[in-house]
Amino acid sequence: MVHLTINGTRVQATEGEMLLTVIRRMGIDIPALCHHEAVEPFGACRLCLVEITKDSWNGWKGYVTSCLYPVENDLIVNTHADKVIEARKTLIDLQLARCPNSPEIQQLAAQFGINRTSYEPKVDGDNCILCGLCTRICDQMGFAAISTVERGHGRRIAPPLDQPPPDCVGCLACALNCPTHVIPFTQAGDRRTIWEKDFELITCSRCGRKTITREFATALSKMRGIPESYFELCDACHREDTAQGMGRIAAWSRREEKAS
């Protein structure tokens, strides 16, 4: 166990935990746009910046991203120091300059009293804040279908060669976890399109409801050994079958009991 102080409160934490986890567990609200528990901490958005010090540091204070900083004994953390607030405000202002039209960023900026960016807004930009969650989740799931491309201010997210990604299975995890909802996809009938790649959705063989893509099901079978036959029915029809099966057993046991 590690003992530290966060905003004046003495808390316990488990060795190896990151500060952000402890801060959030305490119910303290600090923004973080690139953080997701499914993937390794990344430290790109820098919004979860906090001030740290220790009694033994003779007044020296450091500024670290809490998502990446492991808890330490006797650490004194301030999640809302003036300098931290100012840095967060500037960081959001910068994000707003990059994505002036993103409702999510506008909303976050408004919380910091920013209605318009004080920097030069990007004119032709999309709403991508380059948090990298889409690519990291895709990597984590074992597909690595998309990646960051180029670098510096020109960095962007793209499928390989800017063509429909061969390794994409159309699971939508990238799009659904994007904090600013910039990854477009469409779904109609048994077709789903994402990253300009077209997928067939599995149709429940009984009720006709659409489930996951055929490619995703095949991948799950291959990677995790789940029988492909499992994917032929939707969850509701699976439940129906379960009810039927359990019911038959019950009926049978009732007959047995009556007979005995």
């Binding site: 990646s147 060669l161 990604p165």
Partner: protein, 151 residues
């Protein structure tokens, strides 16, 4: 455009078949073709068992790689600090207007590619322009014509 991909196995054979070899393999492909053809990227990904997305990521991250074919003559203007303060930007302006392209582009007849590069370590002779492998030292604004002629 068709490229002789039959050279790829030779390149692959030079390095251990592991993801770590990716940059070296791409460098050799770049050297062979003067750019990175899409098909070669796909083969490299398959050979080294690296996702294609990562290959694309790496090939757009580093300066050494180009996904577009380059011209016969690659003109590189050194943009090291010394070259800069000795007027490299003015030379870039001249070359850009003479060739009608911006740095990073290739003329439509595929004759010239103009690039700016970070320091080539020849600072004592700044500003420096390199055409293919030939160095032009202490270049003056009015010497760009001569450089293009290859004199």
């Amino acid at each position: 455009m068709n490229h002789d991909l039959s050279k790829l196995p030779d390149i692959f054979a030079r390095y251990p078949r592991e993801p770590q070899s990716l940059i070296a393999v791409l460098q050799d492909i770049q050297k062979e073709f003067n750019f990175l053809p899409c098909e070669a990227l796909k083969e490299a990904a398959q050979h080294l068992d690296v996702p294609l997305s990562k290959v694309f990521s790496v090939s757009t991250f580093y300066n050494a790689f180009s996904l577009n074919p380059k011209g016969e003559k690659v003109i590189r203007i050194c943009m090291g600090t010394t070259c800069h303060i000795r007027g490299a930007a003015l030379i870039q302006d001249q070359l850009e207007s003479k060739l009608g392209i911006n740095a990073g582009q290739t003329t439509s007849d595929m004759k010239y590619t103009l690039e700016v590069v970070n320091c080539v370590g020849a600072c004592s002779m700044a500003p420096v322009v390199i055409v293919n492998d030939k160095y032009y030292a202490d270049v003056k604004v009015n010497q760009t014509k001569k450089i293009l002629r290859g004199g």
